[in-house]
């Protein structure tokens, strides 16, 4: 029974991890930007939902789309105004500039929101129900469902809409993208905006399950990074699924090896996959 409970915990946690990685994988795969400020986007999304809930009384789940829209606008502008200026320079430079953005956003968040801890706590945040002797918490379950929903929407967007085809073409080749008659600057901005919106959604859910402070971003960036690598950068479902793998692996490791090894397990898994599947690694070279 304990084992079953642990696996359920891992699956639910993994869904949220997967959602966090979704935006990062999209941006990485299409724009070749490893966005070190991704965790900061998650944090910002969390604060948007927090304030919508506490000041306007909008239910956090209903506030998610609003947060996503705001984060989309934010991401769009950031890419259009700043990141497009350097997008063609070396990969390390995009790493550097997003690191700088992370520092700036974190600082501004402390200025604007203070260093106080916040939680998004609607009445159902701590609720749970029993199922075959397993306790299923409601909020992570919602996060899990929303993760798959958004993965599905992202998949539809990329594979069924003209905009998505243009985005995927851009990932292959910039010249091809022009054939779709879309201005690549806008297209890049839209893609980055979608990435930011997905981060924003996961931030709202994260605030419901965990807590918010200006500093929650960095470890989440690292987590999203790992999952994006394991899941590959091109299939949203694979990204969420690899979130589940990490979630389950960490939960099991926490129980059977010791909680201090949870990180070792996820990163160890990552190194193992990379070394055993060098073909994939070489393709990215």
């Amino acid at each position: 029974m304990l084992l079953a409970q642990i696996i359920v915990n891992g699956v639910l946690l993994g869904g949220l991890y997967g959602l966090m990685a979704l935006g990062m994988a999209l941006v990485w795969g299409v724009l070749n930007i490893v966005n070190l400020a991704h965790g900061a986007f998650v944090m910002l999304g969390g604060y948007i939902v927090y304030y919508l809930f506490t000041t306007l009384g909008i239910d956090p789940l209903a506030a998610l789309p609003i947060a996503m829209a705001l984060m989309f606008a934010f991401g769009y502008l950031l890419q259009y105004v700043v990141l497009n200026q350097i997008i063609r320079s070396a990969m390390l430079n995009t790493l550097l500039i997003t690191f700088g953005l992370d520092v700036v956003l974190t600082y501004l968040a402390q200025l604007g929101f203070s260093a106080d801890f916040r939680t998004i706590a609607p009445s159902y945040a701590g609720a749970n129900f029993g199922l075959l002797g397993i306790t299923v918490p409601v909020a992570p379950l919602a996060a899990f469902a929303i993760a798959w929903l958004l993965a599905g929407l992202t998949w539809l967007l990329l594979n069924r809409l003209p905009l998505g085809r243009a985005i995927r073409a851009t990932a292959q080749n910039l010249v091809a993208a022009r054939l779709y008659g879309v201005n690549p600057r806008r297209l890049y901005a839209v893609t980055f905006g979608i990435g930011a919106a997905l981060a924003g959604a996961s931030g709202g859910l994260y605030g419901m399950i965990s807590h918010l402070s200006p500093y929650v971003g960095a470890p989440l960036t690292a987590k999203a990074f790992v999952i994006a690598v394991i899941g590959g950068l091109h299939n949203p479902f694979a990204v969420v699924a690899s979130g589940l793998i990490i979630g389950i692996a960490e939960s099991l490791a926490a129980l059977y090896v010791g909680p201090t090894y949870a990180n070792v397990i996820s990163f160890g898994l990552l190194v193992l996959i990379l070394v055993l599947r060098p073909s994939r690694a070489l393709r990215a070279a």
Binding site: W28, V34, V82, N84, Q85, I86, I87, R88, S89, A90, M91, L92, N93, L95, L96, I97, F99, G100, L101, D102, V103, V104, T106, Y107, L108, P184, R185, Y188, A218, A222, F225, V226, V229, G258, T260, Y261, N263, V264, F267, G268, L270, V271, L274, V275, P278, R280, A281, L282, A284, A285
Partner: protein, 315 residues
């Protein structure tokens, strides 16, 4: 290299060397940290700048240097010098062992794999008894900041000379060939596996000694500070800021960024982080090839160099 330039470099080094005699303790303090950062950036430059492998495992070598020295001194009461050697050997062995599998990966995948190793290493050290587990290790207090300063300077000089040699040698040309195109390098006769591993081992050597010096200087080590992956991020940033794959770029990058950070922290205090971030963002936009290229570019074409950079790399 022009003789006048050599003389200038020697003069600057000599000036730096007399800082503990003529300068204030604050400058010595700042100097130790900056010189060590320059060593870390320069070491990263060997594997990241010359060879083109963006390592995030250098914080592992740093941590091993810290712990090698700390364990030797705190647990076995060995002298500092022996501790440094222990740390260096530990780090170089580690570079050799992890280098062989991990150096098969390229680009971002190499980066993330090495990041994984650094996280794993921190967890290992926080669980082993001889490393003091999580409680950390305490080293004897020494009132010899001058010595730490001169050691750091000496290490930096050695490191820069080593990189200078690399930049002029067959070995270095091989590393650059690997960075530019690994297949072409191999088909040209470069033993890529050996060269990459050598580069990582050299990088580990200098990084770990810097770690050892810092451990004794700060007198307290624990896993969180020894295997801090943000330290690795700073190595990358300083190198990229200064100019990766150049001999003096990383050193200048480390000096400038440390000075900016320090001055901001002491003058405007709490807004320092904000400005630090802004400086980095602006630097990437206007000088994406680092200070080394900025200096050349400004001389060549004046201020229009900055705008040309944007035109060149924007979408």
């Amino acid at each position: 290299m022009r003789p006048r330039f050599v003389i200038l470099l020697v003069a600057v080094t000599a000036l730096l060397a007399i800082v503990p005699i003529v300068g204030s303790p604050v400058m010595v303090q700042f100097g130790i940290s900056t010189l060590l950062f320059a060593v870390l950036a320069q070491s990263w430059n060997i594997i990241g700048g010359f060879t083109g492998y963006p390592s995030f495992g250098n914080s592992v070598f740093y941590g091993l240097g810290v712990y090698g020295t700390a364990i030797a001194m705190a647990k076995f009461s060995l002298p500092f010098g022996v501790g440094l050697v222990c740390g260096a050997i530990l780090a170089m062995l580690c570079a050799l062992l992890i280098g062989l599998p991990v150096l098969r990966l390229r680009g971002q995948y190499f980066a993330i794999a090495t990041l994984g190793l650094s996280v794993a290493m921190a967890a290992v050290f926080s669980n082993i008894e001889i490393a003091g587990a999580n409680i950390g290790l305490i080293l004897p207090l020494t009132r010899a900041d001058g010595m730490f300063y001169e050691l750091s300077l000496g290490l930096l000089v050695a490191c820069v000379l080593c990189v200078f040699w690399i930049s002029r040698s067959r070995f270095g040309m091989g590393l650059i060939a690997i960075r530019e195109d690994e297949h072409a390098a191999a088909s040209m006769g470069v033993n890529t596996t050996l060269y990459k591993t050598m580069a990582l081992v050299l990088s580990a050597l200098f990084t770990s000694i810097a770690g050892g010096i810092h451990a004794y200087f700060i007198t307290f080590v624990d896993p969180a500070s020894a295997f801090d992956s943000t330290l690795n991020v700073r190595m990358v940033i300083m190198t990229v800021f200064g100019g990766p794959g150049t001999v003096l770029g990383p050193v200048v990058g480390a000096f400038v960024l440390s000075a900016v950070y320090e001055l901001l922290a002491n003058w405007i205090s709490t807004a320092a982080a904000l400005l630090f971030g802004v400086v980095i963002v602006v630097a990437v936009i206007f000088m994406p090839r680092g200070i080394a290229d900025l200096a050349a570019g400004i001389r060549r074409q004046g201020i229009s160099y900055l705008l040309q950079n944007i035109r060149r790399y924007r979408l």
